[in-house]
């Protein structure tokens, strides 16, 4: 820690991919000659970023409650808006998730992106910069900038390298998110006008009036709920996933969705405890509806990608459910659920991508019996599917279990719904696996299928390894999460005494009045 | 003197009347002529105000120069009445509306008109009693507003060059008289004296 004092570690981490992108931009593109160079350079840069984030993890002190690696500089003169960075336990893991996924994505796109590879890699690296920035900043406006900045590269990735209806999907993705964000933007400006600052740590301490909190909370909710996506705002996600290229889906499901959850944790909960508390029942209700609805919809999907997309919505339902229980277990669970979903869903999308490259179909009915030709693939696919179902020992289990534990303390009724969702997930996931991997070999062309190459195998191995690590030893994450979660709960505790009576009268869901 | 009052109402009434007739006259030429008549009456009003210089310049510039060109153009075009009538029908209402708007506004303003008391101290013009108004205008135009006068010159230059640029076409092959060539022409270049033998031809 000492040697890095005063050294802009986070800035370097954030902008390393960006400079990498500039570097890649400068490499001339001659088809068939320099493509290898471009790919290698991009991979090297992404790897360096990953190493760098590991270094930060090593330097991170989980016992401290405050933000670490803080940078704070004058940025916009005239306005009291500063360039301030810093991470705590929550951000740390999202950063790690991002930095680890991007090199995997580059490897994943090694063969599948056929044209305009250079642009693709540039967009990917720029996207990484924006995502890392969003997770590291301690200033609301800066957060908004990075949050919104991710839209463009993603829009382009879906639009350029996507499937047939890519343009429709890209625009839908873009405008859903942008519309939500505008409300957030106005809310941020309003916050700034009200308090004179946009610093996240300062704002968390600011006591807002309750009527104001409601509107501001709703504004932020609009953005995060669309991004996450929550049940009524989810319609963009299946489209985007289906039309995006494999890597696009990986990033979308793996990282971008998490920004919504991160936003809830970082902004909605600490800033507006009262409003969060008031709206919690509705959010939880929506989450449950979302989980069950998405699972049911997933049951009838014929498109593999769409199925996984709907399962993502269900999983994200667990995240919001966990967050809005205001229990330590629930919060822990939701964060772990996000992390595990990050690994699992991107792994699953990679699997689908691998299949699609070979068969050129996403229709479940088109597959069958590939276990005979791709045994190795089937093994990896199986373990990822088990993880998605939430089998004990996998990453999915820890998250879902903790969320349900947290929910149980608040309302057993909701647990029933969530549990129903888990059961349904087992049904559709295993059904998918059965139809795709097992069964009779009806199509002759399957006989030409090759098993995983070295690259693909190692990629999937990495995903599966991560998954088991999370599932078997979640404490390596939970330890660092302790302090920030305590802080969130502290805000919440401050409000609780005053609020509980109102809450009880108005809502049928009875919260546990346990001292926190 | 009553005569001045009468003259004022005469000029003012004729100004309004001819302005109105300018609008409703059928033939464009008549419109132009009414416009000219309106200018003349305006000049008359200026005379009554005691600013004879402006009156004369008004006549010279507007009547003597601008309106003549108007009349030129109007006389030379033959509007296609039937087509115009159809197209104009709708547009006719707009000027009426604008007219009503401006008219009511004028009534509104003038009905409650009062000068800001401080305003009289800001007057730049010297008193008209002591010197003739040509001198007064000259004095202020070439001292206080000299720069603006120069800018006005530039505006006119721009307008002139612009008009020439826009109307000039690339010169085609045509015969032009060059007087100097004609004058400088020598006899020997034009006339060749030949001695022609009889029955031989040239």
């Amino acid at each position: 820690m000492d040697i890095f004092d005063g050294f802009p570690l986070l800035s370097l981490l954030i902008f390393l991919p960006f400079f990498g992108a500039v570097f890649v931009f400068l490499i001339p593109q001659t088809p068939g000659k320099t493509e290898k160079n471009i790919k290698n350079t991009a991979l090297f840069i992404a790897g360096c970023t990953f190493m760098f984030s590991l270094l930060i993890w090593g330097q991170f002190d989980p016992s401290l409650g405050s933000y670490q690696f803080v940078e704070n500089k004058e940025w916009l003169p005239g306005l009291n808006i500063r360039y301030s960075l810093g991470i705590d336990g929550i951000s740390l893991f999202f950063v790690l998730l991002t930095t680890s996924l991007i090199p995997l994505c580059i490897l994943g796109s090694w063969e599948s992106i056929k044209h305009q590879q250079k642009e693709f890699l540039i967009f990917l690296l720029v996207l990484e910069t924006f995502i890392l920035g969003a997770f590291c900043v301690l200033d609301l406006l800066l957060f908004y900038i990075f949050f919104e900045g991710t839209l463009i590269p993603m829009f382009l990735i879906i639009g350029i390298w996507g499937g047939e209806r890519r343009i429709y999907a890209a625009f839908k993705f873009f405008f859903y998110t942008l519309t939500g964000s505008i409300f957030m933007f106005i809310a941020i400006l309003f916050l700034y006008f009200k308090t004179g600052t946009t610093s996240i740590p300062d704002l968390a301490l600011y006591p807002f009036e309750s009527s104001l909190q409601v509107w501001l909370w709703l504004a932020f909710f609009a953005s995060f709920a669309i991004k996450l996506p929550m049940f009524p705002f989810h319609t963009w996600l299946p489209e985007a996933h289906v039309e995006a290229p494999t890597v696009g889906s990986m990033i979308l499901a793996g990282i971008l969705l998490k920004m919504g959850g991160y936003g809830f944790l970082r902004i909605s909960l600490p800033f507006f405890p009262e409003a969060s508390y008031r709206f919690a029942p509705y959010v939880c209700g929506l989450s449950i509806i979302g989980i069950v609805y998405a699972s049911l919809v997933a049951l009838v999907q014929r498109d593999i990608k769409k199925l996984i997309a709907y399962s993502s919505i269900a999983h994200m339902g667990f995240v919001t459910l966990g967050i809005f229980t205001f229990q330590r277990e629930g919060l822990n669970g939701s964060i772990l659920q996000m992390l595990s979903h990050g690994v699992l869903s991107s792994g699953l999308f990679l699997c689908v991508g691998i299949l699609y490259e070979r068969v050129h179909s996403r229709d479940i009915e088109a597959y069958g019996g590939i276990v005979s030709f791709m045994p190795l693939f089937s093994v990896f696919f199986m373990s990822l599917i088990l993880g998605a179902i939430g089998l004990p020992g996998t990453a999915g289990f820890v998250g879902e279990f903790l969320v349900i534990l947290g929910t149980f303390q608040v309302s057993p009724l909701m647990v029933v719904g969530a549990g129903f969702g888990i059961i349904l997930s087992a049904v559709y996931m295993l059904g998918l696996y059965r139809k795709v991997v097992f069964g009779p070999v009806e199509k002759i062309r399957f006989q030409k299928l090759k098993d995983l190459s070295m690259r693909e195998g190692s990629l999937l191995f990495f995903f599966v390894g991560c998954m088991f690590w999370m599932g078997l030893y979640p404490n390596s994450f939970i330890g660092a999460l302790h302090q920030p979660i305590s802080k969130i709960l502290e805000y919440y505790g401050r409000q609780q005494d005053a609020l509980v009576p109102i809450f009880k009268m108005k809502n049928s869901i009875v919260f546990n009045e346990r001292e926190l | 003197m009553v005569i001045f009052g009468m003259m004022f109402y005469l000029f003012a009434g004729l100004t309004l009347l001819s302005a109105f007739l300018t609008l409703i006259a059928r033939a464009p030429v008549h419109s132009a002529l009414w416009l000219i008549f309106m200018f003349l009456n305006g000049a008359g009003l200026f005379v009554l105000l005691g600013s004879e210089l402006l009156a004369m310049i008004f006549v010279i510039v507007y009547v003597g120069a601008v309106a003549v060109l108007f009349l030129f153009v109007v006389m030379m075009i033959k509007p296609q009445r039937e087509v115009l009538k159809k197209e104009i029908k709708w547009y006719k209402r707009i000027p009426v509306l604008i007219g009503i708007f401006f008219g009511s506004e004028m009534v509104f303003i003038l009905g409650g008109w009062s000068f800001v008391p401080v305003a009289s101290t800001l007057d730049q013009l010297p008193s008209r009693v002591q010197i003739s108004n040509t001198t007064a205008i000259g004095n202020i135009l070439y001292t206080h507003y000299a720069v603006l006068f120069e800018i006005a010159g530039f505006i006119l230059l721009g307008a002139m060059v612009g008009a020439i640029v826009l109307t000039k076409r690339a010169p085609k092959e045509r015969y032009r008289q060059k007087m100097s060539d004609q004058v400088l022409e020598k006899k020997k270049n034009r006339i060749k004296i030949c001695h022609v033998d009889i029955r031989k031809g040239v």
């Binding site: - | 003197m1 009553v2 003597g64 003549v68 006389m75 040509t134």
Partner: protein, 348 residues
């Protein structure tokens, strides 16, 4: 109410007294100018014919009255007797308005002309501008006449004459500006009085030349009589006119000719001033000197007509825009600089 009536009564009284006298005086003055002027116009035609005849070694009109002196009256009576013919498709009102307009304008300029010291109908400060304004209006008479007669020839003639008059008015204006610069006033009386030391024809001789040539063009006189070039346009804008309307045009034109001579006299030849301010010259009254100078200039008009062939139209335009205008512009600048210089050095 009572106040109002008493005010009105007073006004009426003053109108009957002072104003009526004023009006009477005015009308008398106007008649004193116009009647001689019309007579002058009448005899100018005779003068012209006699002079041209003399130049061409003829006798000229010599039948009506002694030496043909009553010839103008005979011509006038003939015109009066003729029928006023109005073309079938002509705009009747404008057709008749045009000659009246022309004639009225030709007469109204004379309101400010000084015939002697303080001898003018109205002595206004902007006399020069008034003259210029009214003479610039005279274009309208021509183009209205041309347009209203609904005849191609007439219209073409009108356009020609209008273009010609406007073109030359510009350089005429600059000529007058030089005069005004030298005199330091736009009052015609003062312009004359400023020439007591020397006539402006001396320092401004080129301007005098331009003035005279422009005056030919302004009055549509030879060698610039293109609008009524008989050989191409029959008779120009007044081809459809006959009888009294035609006479009015005719009178107006000749009145303009006299006017131009008068202006030349006032601007350049010292108006009513005698050539030298000493005894034998000052015996003659102001009016006599004035009349003589005007007669000399009128003679020049006639002389030029008898001598020069007609210009071509493009040559006419070129002369106006490309020679006279730049030249007079430069001269204006020079004069202004010179006047300022003299004023600064205190010698003027």
């Amino acid at each position: 109410m009572k106040n109002f009536f008493s005010f009105f009564y007073q006004e009426i009284q003053s109108f009957c007294g002072r104003d009526l006298l004023f009006f009477g005086e005015m009308i008398f003055k106007i008649l004193m100018v116009i009647l001689p002027l019309l007579l002058g116009v009448a005899f100018l035609t005779l003068f012209e014919r006699k002079v041209i005849a003399a130049i061409q070694l003829r006798r000229g009109p010599n039948v009506v009255g002694p030496f043909g002196i009553l010839q103008p009256f005979a011509d006038g009576l003939k015109l009066l007797h003729k029928e006023i013919i109005i073309p079938h498709r002509a705009n009747k009102f404008l057709f008749l308005l045009a000659p009246i307009f022309t004639f009225t304008l030709a007469l109204s300029v004379w309101a400010v002309i000084p015939f002697g010291f303080k001898q003018s109908i109205s002595n206004i400060n902007v006399g020069v501008l008034y003259v210029f304004a009214v003479s610039s209006l005279s274009v309208y008479g021509l183009i209205i006449a041309g347009w209203a007669s609904q005849s191609r020839y007439a219209f073409l003639g009108a356009l020609r004459s209008a273009a010609q008059m406007i073109s030359y008015e510009v350089s005429l204006g600059f000529v007058i500006v030089t005069v005004v610069l030298c005199a330091g006033s736009m009052n015609l009386q003062e312009i004359v009085l400023a020439q007591q030391k020397f006539w402006f024809v001396v320092p401004l001789f080129p301007m005098f030349f331009i003035f005279m040539v422009s005056a030919f063009a302004e009055t549509n006189r030879a060698p610039f009589d293109l609008p009524e070039a008989e050989t191409e346009l029959v008779s120009g804008y007044n081809v459809e006119y006959s009888s009294m309307p035609f006479a009015l045009f005719f009178l107006g034109e000749y009145a303009n000719m006299i006017l131009m001579s008068v202006l030349g006299t006032i601007f350049f030849l010292g108006g009513w001033l005698p050539p030298f301010e000493c005894r034998p010259f000052t015996w003659l009254p102001d009016g006599a000197w004035f009349g003589m100078k005007v007669l000399i200039l009128l003679f020049v008009f006639v002389w030029v007509r008898a001598t020069f062939p007609r210009y071509r139209y493009d040559q006419l335009m070129r002369l106006g825009w490309k020679f006279f205008l730049p030249f007079s512009l430069i001269w204006v600048v020079l004069t202004a600089a010179f006047v300022v210089f003299l004023k600064e050095s205190g010698s003027l």
